[in-house]
């Protein structure tokens, strides 16, 4: 069966509007910047060399840390949630999944601004804390606020793949494990978790990747004090007008994420249930 012509429109679209522009931008990394912005087409490696500057490696490390923390928290919150949803009767599962995806129906920016209202000094968080005799805490414009915002934004991307692999799991396998003498925790540790590992890896990737490159949340909730790679790339292109260095940063970011993607694909295949 020759079905590949059907992929034509999709492949053409991706090539023309993604691969080509991305290739162009990334190629800037190997050229000099113009005095007043723009690109001078003289080959150089100095942009890539600049990446080793501790100033920028710190930003990369900080971004990794923030994205990793977000991912771990999303997994810890998302797994039990997905587990509960997969255990509901069919109709309620649909309702729960719609509820999980519902935030995507409103603008991301609006939702991030809403978090400012929640976390600010006289905001709802401190009102609630005062009501129980605690507080006030300065959360807004800290890393904690950034992690909270990213977690809120990308938690559904963790829950959905986890739900998919949990729902696919044969419930008889847990019963078989219990029948062979495994208590609930052991069933989870030895059967449920290993068999949903591909879903876990997918979810982690789905949360880590956009968190790592995000620049809106650190800008608004981090108050510019928490600089992440995304901010740096954006600033190079839009403020510093240093396109070549921005491209070099983007290249580094992309290379890192590609490594993660391949690692995930490899691990998913290795631990695939069959």
């Amino acid at each position: 069966m020759k079905r590949w012509p059907l992929t034509g429109p999709g492949v053409t679209y991706l090539t023309v509007f993604m691969v080509v522009p991305l290739g162009l931008v990334l190629s800037y990394a190997f050229f000099r910047r113009g005095r007043f912005g723009g690109v001078v087409y003289e080959p150089t490696t100095e942009n890539l060399a600049r990446l080793a500057d501790p100033l920028y490696t710190d930003v990369l490390l900080h971004s990794t840390w923030i994205a990793a923390l977000t991912t771990v928290l999303a997994l810890l919150i998302g797994y039990p949630t997905a587990h509960v949803i997969a255990g509901l009767p069919r109709r309620r599962q649909t309702i729960a999944l719609v509820a999980v995806v519902l935030p995507f129906w409103t603008s991301f920016l609006v939702r991030v601004y809403a978090w400012i209202v929640l976390l600010s000094g006289p905001g709802w968080l401190n009102k609630a804390l005062r009501a129980i005799g605690l507080g006030p805490v300065e959360v807004l414009y800290t890393d904690a606020a950034v992690v909270a915002g990213l977690l809120y934004a990308y938690l559904p991307l963790m829950i959905l793949p986890l739900y998919a692999s949990l729902a696919r799991l044969d419930p008889q396998l847990s019963e078989a494990a219990a029948n062979l003498g495994a208590g609930p925790w052991t069933v989870f540790r030895t059967v449920t978790f290993p068999l949903t590992l591909p879903g876990v890896l997918t979810g982690c990737l789905f949360v880590f990747v956009p968190s790592f490159g995000n620049f809106v949340v650190p800008e608004l909730l981090g108050g510019g004090r928490s600089v992440m790679v995304g901010n740096l790339v954006r600033d190079q292109f839009l403020k510093a007008r240093d396109w070549p260095f921005g491209a070099a940063l983007a290249l580094a970011l992309l290379a890192g994420l590609m490594v993660l993607l391949f690692a995930q694909a490899w691990a998913a295949r290795r631990y695939a249930p069959r």
Binding site: E175, A178, N179, G181
Partner: protein, 337 residues
């Protein structure tokens, strides 16, 4: 050893089990036989601890079994789908239950090797379940369940996933194993031949109730309800002329003759006349269906070898008095299958 007393259970509005009482003795090979949806699997799941019955008690050696969580019961189940762990090799699947008992690693290894040798899978120990054939998977599932040396082994339709050739061999193997390891077996099946050939005792279930519990031969020769008579060995059921009983006659006890019957109705030692509607040759036997006026179902006759009777022919049917088994009007509202 196992005493099931008055167990009842329902799912929503459907009654899955209704006042089921059954005793299973030590070392016995017992079968639950019935059509799908009769509640036999529910009873199995209750014994394994996956369902809690609404009423009734189940005791094992006099102790309440229902109070014990599933993972602490000395009861192992071989699932119909086998439910092998896809991410573990054959030997890790078999070792799983022993590892939960925290046995020394050496003992686990020895027992796994021993049981894999018993079921003939030593060479496949390192394979994953998806690399095995249906028959091999079935033996892994069996090995995984018996390696724990449970007091009671439950088998849910153990042979249904296998094709005919493998089935016969596996049937023998199950019986041999049961003698060898001396574990009490309870097998659930909808296949009467499977139940008859495997079990010492069969409980026939219908619509959530146990209709009759007996040894295979008793069950075959003396069915006590219309349902049992129809389900086990496809008896012909004739309404009794006088009184309100039913008479059951086995297909192989009916003799077929030419069409000069006297047309007398069914009774103790009967004669009937009818028209042949179907003849099917099964190798060893031939099944002939005869439409008789006034009877709702065609009468089934089984004769040895091929038959000269053709479809559309008028024939007479007769049987000796001792072939007619009277069945009292069933106390349960069991329908005919």
């Amino acid at each position: 050893m196992i005493e099931i007393r008055g167990v009842g259970h329902r799912f929503g509005r459907t009654r899955a089990l209704d006042d089921v009482t059954l005793d299973i003795g030590e070392g016995e090979f017992c079968a639950l036989l019935g059509p799908s949806g009769c509640g036999k699997t529910t009873l199995l799941r209750i014994l394994a601890g996956f369902e809690k019955p609404e009423t009734g008690t189940v005791t094992l050696d006099g102790r309440d079994l229902l109070a014990v969580p599933p993972h602490r019961r000395p009861v192992n189940l071989m699932f119909q789908s086998f439910a092998l762990f896809p991410h573990l090799s054959v030997e890790r699947n078999v070792a799983y239950g022993l590892e939960r008992e925290r046995l020394p690693r050496r003992e686990v290894r020895e027992r796994v090797e021993e049981v894999l040798a018993t079921v003939g899978l030593t060479e496949h120990a390192r394979r994953r379940p998806h690399q095995l054939s249906g028959g091999q998977r079935q033996r892994v599932a069996l090995a995984r369940a018996i390696v724990k040396r449970p007091r009671l082994l439950l088998l849910d339709e153990p042979l249904s996933a296998l094709d005919k050739q493998v089935r016969a061999g596996m049937q023998l193997e199950l019986k041999r194993l049961q003698h060898e390891v001396g574990i009490t077996f309870l097998v659930v099946t909808h296949d009467q031949e499977e139940a008859m050939s495997l079990a010492d005792r069969i409980a026939v279930m219908n619509a959530g109730r146990v209709e009759q519990t007996d040894a295979p031969v008793e069950l075959y020769e003396r069915p006590r309800t219309a349902f049992v008579a129809g389900f086990v060995g496809a008896n012909n059921l004739f309404p009794e002329r006088d009184g309100d009983g039913i008479t059951a006659v086995r297909p192989e006890r009916i003799r077929i003759g030419d069409g000069d019957g006297d047309g007398a109705g069914a009774g103790a030692g009967g004669r009937l006349t009818g028209t042949v509607v179907d003849v099917s040759f099964h190798g060893g036997t031939t099944h002939i269906a005869v439409r008789v006026p006034d009877l709702a179902e065609p009468v089934l006759v089984a004769v040895q070898g091929p038959s000269r009777v053709a479809t559309g022919e008028r024939v007479s049917l007769s049987w000796p008095p001792e072939a007619a088994v009277p069945i009292p009007v069933s106390p349960t509202e069991g329908e005919k299958p």
